[in-house]
Amino acid sequence: MGNILTYSGIVTKVRAMQAKLLTPEDYKNIAALGSVPDIVAYLREKPAYRDILANLDDDMIHRGNIEKLLMQSFYGDYTRLFRFAGMHQKQFLKLYITQHEVQLINYCLRIVFNHYEAPFDLDYKKLFFDSYTQLSIDRLITSKNIEELVDNLQGTEYYAPLKLLRDSNAATLFDYDLALDLYAFSTLWKKRKKVLKNKELEVFTRDCGSQIDLLNMQWIYRAKKYYNMTPPDIYSLLIPINYRIKTDLLRELVECPSLNEFVSIARKTSYAQKYNFDQGYTLERMYTECLYHLHLADRRSNPNSIAVVNTYLFLKELEINQLTTVLECVRYNLTPSETMRYLGGIIK
């Protein structure tokens, strides 16, 4: 209860913002709509998206543009929370945004490696990234090749790990992506102890640890299913952190010869025990659902802590992902029930 004074302000603010999140009812309605402009019209009625979508010209209504605008809504929320937060909470928010930084760099890496013609469609992110992150989009978009890109990252924490890779020459896009992801998760894991204390640390460790475990499982699964990778290769791409999945279990997961065996071993994990693994759940759904419930539980049990902010940001990102999915489904004329299946029934 000692946090009640520190958090009462920001928690109230989060509550207010939370009220603007879409409800399951909304998703049903959206899934039932027939076209993208209809969805935009529907979202324009919603307070969370009203302002952002208001400026969109009717002839600009296109999935790509809408997705960018939806992202703006997330940045807007983050900005509002950041401005409202105290010193300590700001530190947490900075830690949180590293995931987005990594995404941005990965995007740039892909462009640079694949030599796209008209690259770097990043203007819509510029304002936000210039103000709230260590990356400078102006500098990044001048990069012509991987060397320049790494040079342009000078001064950020990502420079050192990428430079090491660059100096070893023969690195591929995959190597860079991997190095960056591994670095991001390792630092997140390391820094959490600096930024958070006691109960908050415990909660965040659970969220973050579960996410890492689930991601590792997902990657092993995909590596096996789609790429037929050998165990040593799989090991090399795992995040070197174990939370609930112990080393032996993880080794079993990696070394099992077939997907069926993988599923049966995966059932032994604590995550599978909590959430029914049989009813046609994919690993991806398990990942989202686990994290969803975990975050909600955190918020419930620690109503006056950083968990509230964390949960809100998680939900907001989830919402944007869902909306993106719905938009795609509608665009390709899926039936409402199919669309809802893709949404994964997380929103009950």
Binding site: L164, S186, T230, P232, Y235, P240
Partner: protein
């Protein structure tokens, strides 16, 4: 004094130029001018376009002399030019050979270092490198693996693989080591470790024994190479040091030769009938010119012409100062301000006398003055620092005024003041009241100096035939009459005598002021120049009014400026009082360390401030009245002092 200058034209057959320079010109001070541009009136002049053959040997010689251990070696000047060139050639050949060897050694050292860097991280391995590689049934691979992946290897794979990884060492990013694997397993293991970013390292072929030993061997080799390099440096330096005297001589001689040869740059050549002639021209002092004429009279090859109508064609002559030795240091101040023009008078002696005198008043102390004389004198004679000479001369006056003020190292009770004590002597003046006597004397002195400056200005103006400046300038006769009038009036008033009648005053002050104000139109009238006034009458009046106002203000402020002379005389005494107080002179037992330190401090600090203040008085209060300093310095092509 300013030395009179003559403009000389020297010519002769083209091939004779070197002889002319080495036999005659090197003995005299002459400022050569660019002949082609100076002799505008003569046609068909061509430049000399010859490459200086001594330039290259000279740069080499300079470089070689830089290697000498004893830079002050007595130069051996006996060898002939050809011998010198041969010497340089020889040295250069040897030097280049050694440099080549040095290059090879440096390269091999770099290579060794590189190998060391490869081997060094494996230090922890306790077996012989090359033996392991040649095992029959076991394969060994050296390399490094990123730490993160090494951890994964340990955690997940190590137990299930038929591999032994021996760690040799690690740094921030990598673990270095060897893994051993049975031949049959090697392919699988290699791919596994490759997946974990194991980076195989090719060990250098010159690494034997355990990594530790190999590293040490390499280090020893590096040290040996270093030694060889050192020896080489020694050899290089030996080349030159064994010929030190000859090289130093060669450098000096080459400098001369090269400089003499470069005279061509200033010379012109000219076709004269079938022969080619050289033409040189330049300024020489009158005495030197005469001697030079006498000496070359019997030399048929050389024709010297002294050009009298110089200013018509060749511009103003350069200024060469020549003063008695005592006043020479003060030429520095003149150079700092600007040398006098050829028809201006040289203010060196004036500066020397006024500077030392004023310095003495401001810094009157027998003890400290003598210190300045001795210290400055020593420095001047040993190191030839001009400023030290100035200080020494100023110190003489300091001592003198120390006697006048009765001050010895701040002690006021040893000597009886011959004149007054600056701190306590007061004078009653009408209208102003009680004032330190030194202040009044200082202002009076200042008035005298200003009047003197005006007279000097008038003399200078008469010399340069500038009527406006002579008569109507604020520093000319008009200004002099006005200022002297004021001075006389003030003196009369202060001494309590009756003032002259109002009409006389009006004439004395009014007429000169009007003349100063209207100097431009009056001069024009007298010289009958019919130039139109550029601005309207109103503008002219406004401008004149403010200029006049400014002139009056400057008379006033310049006069008061001299108060500082008195002020520093007082402040010196006051500062020394503080020093003595700190030393406890009043209580009877004096702390001598404080007295000495205090004296040193006051001497240094006041000496500096007074020195600057007096210079300011010289430049601003006096020079601005009579001195232009627009001359150019006489820069002889070959300076005799340098040798």
């Amino acid at each position: 004094m300013i030395v009179k200058m003559k403009f000389l034209n020297i010519s002769g057959p083209r091939t004779d130029i070197d002889r002319l320079i080495s036999t005659y010109l090197s003995k005299y001070e002459i400022q050569l001018e660019q002949a082609i541009t100076e002799l505008k009136t003569t046609d068909n002049l061509l430049p000399f376009l010859e490459v200086n053959p001594y330039k290259d040997p000279l740069t080499k010689a300079t470089q070689f002399v830089g290697f000498l251990k004893d830079p002050f070696v007595v130069p051996d000047s006996t060898p002939t030019t050809d011998e010198i060139l041969a010497l340089i050639q020889e040295c250069n050949q040897e030097y280049l050979n050694l440099l080549e060897r040095q290059d090879i050694l440096k390269k091999s050292k770099d290579e060794l270092k590189e190998h060391l860097n490869i081997v060094a991280p494996f230090k922890g391995l306790d077996f012989e490198l090359e033996k392991v590689i040649h095992f029959k049934y076991i394969k060994a691979r050296y390399g490094r693996i990123p730490i993160d992946f090494y951890k994964k290897l340990e955690k997940y794979l190590y137990d299930s693989m038929g591999v032994i990884f021996v760690e040799g060492g690690r740094d921030v990013n990598y673990v270095y080591g060897t893994y051993f694997v049975a031949n049959a397993e090697s392919f699988k293991t290699d791919t596994t470790l490759k997946a974990l970013h194991f980076d195989a390292v090719q060990l250098p072929t010159d690494a034997y024994g355990t990594p530790q030993e190999a590293a040490e061997t390499l280090k020893r080799h590096i040290a040996e190479t270093d030694k060889e390099l050192e020896q080489l440096d020694q050899d290089i330096s030996d080349i030159f040091n064994s010929r030190a005297a000859r090289l130093a001589g060669a450098k000096q001689r080459l400098e001369d030769l090269s400089q003499n040869f470069d005279v061509r740059k200033l010379a012109a050549r000219m076709k004269h009938e079938d022969d080619e002639m050289y033409v040189l021209c330049g300024w020489m002092s009158e005495d030197d010119a005469e001697k030079f004429m006498v000496e070359t009279k019997n030399d048929e090859q050389i024709i010297v012409v002294i050009d009298e109508g110089r200013s018509k064609h060749f511009g103003d002559p350069p200024t060469k100062l020549k003063n008695p030795k005592v006043f020479k240091p003060f030429e520095m101040f003149i150079r700092m301000y600007g040398l006098p023009d050829h028809n201006e008078m040289d203010p060196t002696i004036f500066v020397a006398l006024s500077y030392t005198f004023i310095f003495g008043v401001m810094f009157g102390d027998v003890g400290q003055g003598l210190c300045l004389v001795i210290g400055g004198g020593l420095l001047y004679f040993i190191k030839k620092i001009n400023l030290a000479g100035i200080i020494a001369l100023a110190g003489i006056f300091s001592t003198f005024f120390g006697v006048m003020f009765g001050s010895v190292f701040g002690f006021e009770d040893i000597l009886k003041p011959t004149w007054i004590r600056p701190l306590s002597a007061m004078t009653d003046l009408p209208f102003i009241g009680k004032l330190n006597t030194v202040f009044i004397v200082a202002v009076a002195f200042g008035m005298g100096v200003i009047i003197l400056s005006m007279i000097l200005h008038i003399i200078n103006s008469i010399r340069s035939h500038d009527m406006e400046a002579t008569w109507f300038d604020a520093n000319g006769v008009a200004g002099l009459v006005f200022y002297a009038g004021i001075v006389v009036t003030i003196v009369l008033f202060m001494t309590g005598k009756a003032l002259p009648g109002g009409i006389i005053l009006a004439v004395m002050f009014g007429v000169p002021l009007i003349l100063i104000a209207l100097k431009e139109p009056i001069t024009k009238k007298i010289q009958r120049r019919a130039e139109k006034m550029e601005e309207s009458k109103g503008m002219f009046l406004v401008q004149t009014f403010f200029e006049l106002f400014e002139t009056l203000l400057s008379y006033f402020s310049n006069t008061l400026s001299f108060v500082r002379i008195g002020a520093f005389a007082v402040s010196h005494a006051a500062m020394m009082q503080v020093v003595l107080m700190l030393a406890g002179a009043e209580s009877g037992n004096i702390n001598w360390i404080v007295v000495i330190l205090g004296n040193l401090f006051v001497c240094g600090m006041e000496g500096l401030i007074v020195g600057i203040q007096v210079l300011r008085l010289e430049y601003y209060e006096m020079f601005s009245r009579f001195y232009k300093g627009s001359g150019r310095e006489f820069k002889p092509y070959k300076n005799k002092d340098k040798k």
